[in-house]
Amino acid sequence: MRSIRRDEVRQLLKEGAQLVEVLPHEEYEEEHIAGAINIPLKELNRKTAIQLDRSRPVIVYCDDYQ
């Protein structure tokens, strides 16, 4: 999995990438990047990933780099 910065995120989103916030539900509800879906890291598996389109890039993120 390659790390990318903000500008590349914006470019990939223009090209149809899917955004996934991997933080807990409560933090997602507080605030998330517009358009992102929420799959908490502990719940990330084949079953929960089925909602993602395998043909499109996926960008995962959390709070910050710390």
Binding site: R5, R6, E31, R56, P57, V58, D64
Partner: protein, 144 residues
């Protein structure tokens, strides 16, 4: 899991919010520090002539001036005493540390908790990282 193109946005949603990019959620609907920060706060460079800075600040009606570098990264502050004085100092000699800096995405409640009477918190982290975007002061709020 069969995904060929997976990336990690390593700087995360705090970085995203710091640049004023679209967010959703309960906190995103509330005003943030960036929404109330005043972008017209006077600024100066270390190399500027302090007497000229004082004149400019006084004419603007402000009582403070933020010292920045060429990239608008905050270096310090010229407070009321420094602006009101007529000492023949340099900007570097007259400036004091601070003000504290926060990201523009900070919620108003959190911002107010960090601020005391007349203490300014400067919203930053617009590109380049750490650069000044505005100033918040309990004495000079801007309506959200």
């Amino acid at each position: 899991m069969g995904f060929e193109q997976v990336y990690e946005y390593e700087d995360g949603k705090r970085d995203w919010g710091s640049f004023g990019l679209p967010r959703e959620g309960r906190l995103a609907e509330q005003p943030s520090g960036g929404d109330v920060a005043r972008a017209d706060v006077p600024t100066c460079l270390l190399s500027d002539d302090l007497s000229e800075v004082r004149r400019r600040v006084r004419e603007s009606g402000w009582e403070t001036c933020i010292v920045v570098n060429e990239d608008r990264v905050v270096l310090g502050r010229l407070g009321r005493k420094a602006i009101g004085s007529d000492d023949g100092e340099s900007v570097e000699e007259a400036m004091t540390d601070g003000p504290s800096t926060v990201r523009p995405s900070i919620g108003l409640d959190a911002l107010l908790k960090r601020m005391q009477s007349n203490t300014s918190a400067v919203g930053s982290s617009r590109p380049p990282m750490g650069s000044l975007s505005g100033s918040c002061s309990a004495a000079r709020p801007r309506s959200a």
